[in-house]
């Protein structure tokens, strides 16, 4: 039997004795499986269920240099009441903003169920000294962020310094305190599904509450197969330790149809237990209006012009 590969310090995971191998991913087969799940035909009640869930799981996101408190105020209103014409549409899970906009966001969502998530750790590149990243995380939590979306150090990961990546996540997790930690792998920079799996396990071992595909700043962000690879890693961690880690695909999910495909994949991989905003989020900026349009179509039988949905 093959001997387990020697792991650097820090990669001596709590999993290690029980998961002697990191395991590998077969690219062709995983893409085939993802494509086959995407062909499920979800209609009527089942579709309404998915659309409603998609809204409740959404992290409504704006991460632009031009973001202002005014923009955040608009986004927060939208997050709390996505469709003013239909009060049965639930609020989204969270709004996701840059650190400077956290105070404005916190103020605007106060009293609602909408959480504030802040990106941090030298987002999106992660190319800054660890102590600065940790300080940034402390600051956003102090400002009232409920959730922190950090990026891993891809430079360290790709040069094989897994321990650096691991230690950094551990320190960030500590700095988060009560805040939930989402760890962004930035999968399009990792290059292979094997790397995605390795980074997923490493992040979970280091304490991630969620693992997240992408920053949304690069093309080729979330895809169904890469998300499936991460879900399977989450499932293995759950099998081995009983711990439930959340998943957040982000970037490139713009249409309801895609959102439904992601949810089918989630349901058939991790089961009904994960069908909750506590364990799954969809990171998106333009998806919401398409979902609202579909919800109204399901209810009225007609499509309405985009002019009937607010642009925020």
């Amino acid at each position: 039997m093959a001997k387990a590969p020697a792991l650097p310090t820090g990669f001596e995971l709590p999993l290690e004795p029980r998961l002697p191998r990191i395991g590998s991913v077969d690219q062709v087969a995983v893409e085939e499986r993802a494509a086959s799940l995407a062909r499920r035909s979800i209609k009527k009640d089942a579709k309404m269920f998915a659309l409603d869930l998609a809204v409740r799981m959404m992290d409504l996101t704006t991460l632009e240099g031009q973001d202002t408190p005014g923009k955040i105020a608009a986004l927060a209103s939208k997050a709390i009441r996505p469709d003013p014409a239909d009060t049965s549409v639930p609020s989204v899970a969270a709004i996701c903003v840059y650190p400077n906009l956290v105070p404005a966001a916190v103020e605007r969502v106060r009293g609602s169920s909408v959480k504030v998530a802040s990106v941090a750790t030298a987002f999106p590149s992660g190319q800054a000294p660890t102590h600065l990243k940790v300080a940034e995380v402390r600051e956003v939590v102090e400002m009232g962020a409920d959730e922190v979306d950090m990026v891993i150090d891809r430079g360290a990961f790709l040069s094989g310094r897994y321990a650096k990546v691991y230690d950094e996540i551990v320190q960030v997790k500590e700095a988060c305190g009560e805040a939930h930690l989402k760890v962004i792998l930035e999968v399009s920079e990792l290059g292979t599904y094997d790397n995605v799996r390795r980074a997923s396990l490493l992040s979970m071992a280091a304490g991630a509450d969620f693992i997240k595909t992408s920053t949304g700043k690069l093309p080729g962000a979330a895809t169904l197969p890469v998300t499936l690879v991460m879900l399977e890693a989450i499932r293995d961690v759950h099998d081995e330790t009983g711990r439930k880690v959340g998943m957040k695909p982000a970037g490139g999910i713009r249409q309801s149809k895609q959102a439904v495909q992601y949810l089918v994949q989630l349901y058939e991989t991790l089961g009904a237990e994960w069908l909750t905003p506590d364990l799954y989020r969809l990171g998106a900026s333009t998806l919401l209006n398409d979902v609202l349009m579909q919800i109204r179509k399901e209810k009225t039988g007609r499509y309405q012009s985009p002019d009937y949905f607010t642009v925020d």
Binding site: A29, I42, L275
Partner: protein, 499 residues
Amino acid sequence: MTDLERRQDRAPVPAGWEYAPAPESRDIVTLEERYGLFIGGEFVDPRSGEYFPTLNPGTEEQLAEVAQAGPEDVDLAVGAAREAYDNGWSSISPAERAKYLFRIARILQERSREFAVLESMNGGKPIRESRDVDLPLAAAHFFYYAGWADKLEYAFPNRRPRSIGVAGQIIPWNFPLLMLAWKIAPALAAGNTVVLKPAETTPLTALLFTDVVRQAELPPGVVNIITGDGRAGAELVKHEGVDKIAFTGSTEVGKAIQRELAGTGKKLTLELGGKAANIVFDDAALDQAVEGIVNGIYFNQGHVCCAGSRLLVQESIYEPLIAKLKRRLTTLRLGDPLDKNTDIGAINSKQQLDKITELVAAGEEEGAEIYQPPCRLPEKGYWFAPTVFTNVAQSYRIAQEEIFGPVLSVLTFRTPDEAVEKANNTAYGLSAGVWTEKGSRILSMAQKLRAGVIWANTFNRFDPTSPFGGFKESGFGREGGLHGLEPYLDLGESEVRGG
């Protein structure tokens, strides 16, 4: 806090997600009440005067009545094929033959939904498979062999390939239209005419195919379709006007055919049963291997001659792999074959269901441990839950005999040599699967496994360019690829004849 927001905070985790039914419409298919035999370009009443019902195995409802071809009918069909061969088909230009085949391929693509729906109605397979596998592959086969029709001289350099005459073709019920394509496309490309008999339980797509033949304006008599049970097949096999027999089906019938043809000079190819080993090494990508195992044995309810019905797992990963496999089985959706979300359809016939039930009972009796995921079987129709047997010994019947149903037997091994030994320890030799991250191991396993098709890190993947066929009791001759042309050609030298 508004009511709205409180509601969200309380939203409970759902117990499940019921997918609403998503059935493909049957309206696209128009069926006659009764079908005759397609001989010489038109439907004729059987001289036998006999008809029998053909059913939807998912509901047991009768779909139509089809003719039982008797000796006289077979004689007429072979006569029509001979006449078409002699008076035109064998002498038209090869490029012209190709044109007809390209036409058939395109018409199949255009009418693929209609064919897919009918295939699922008459055979019980999920529409997902007939739509995504059977139909695209059937069309691809015609496209592929259309391309060879005017290049036979190049396919066999320094030989003089010539057509052989009338081919009698007998196909099984598991992939009715696809097997028709596997048989008819190379036969026609090589310049022969055919008499094809679809399986007793699944004649309808072959009968609908006659409409494609007419649409493509294929000269009358080039393709003749006769229906009936084994008696019709037996008549076709022994008919003196037939120059070649191609049979896909059970090993038992295959042996009988070979005995019948001994000494007759007729060419013969047999594609028979299998008991394929799907071998998973401990370095394999486990989640993808599980998908491959599921696809290997539950694809088409396990009604696949090359199904990966014996799972050989390296002992060091036995437990996690079986746990993953069992969990995956709970997500398989069994039910209405026409529902687009159905993964497991109906068992093809009562007879096949009885056979599966009998072998599964034998497995339990011999001491294997059975697992079936919780699933509700419809009341009407023929159904069998996906089944896994663990603790299976090599000597058990379920490890030796072909079940041809959604039943997997799991065995373990410790070393690559042991895997090879167990995999080859069977009367069959049609296919095998190897799952490992190590390329060199794939190559060395492929050299040692005695099977006609070996898949690495995938299973049940078909392509018209790739030859398919067996070792030992799985038959001889190859279908698909360049090799698939040979049985339909006289290459101008002495050959093994009559088996």
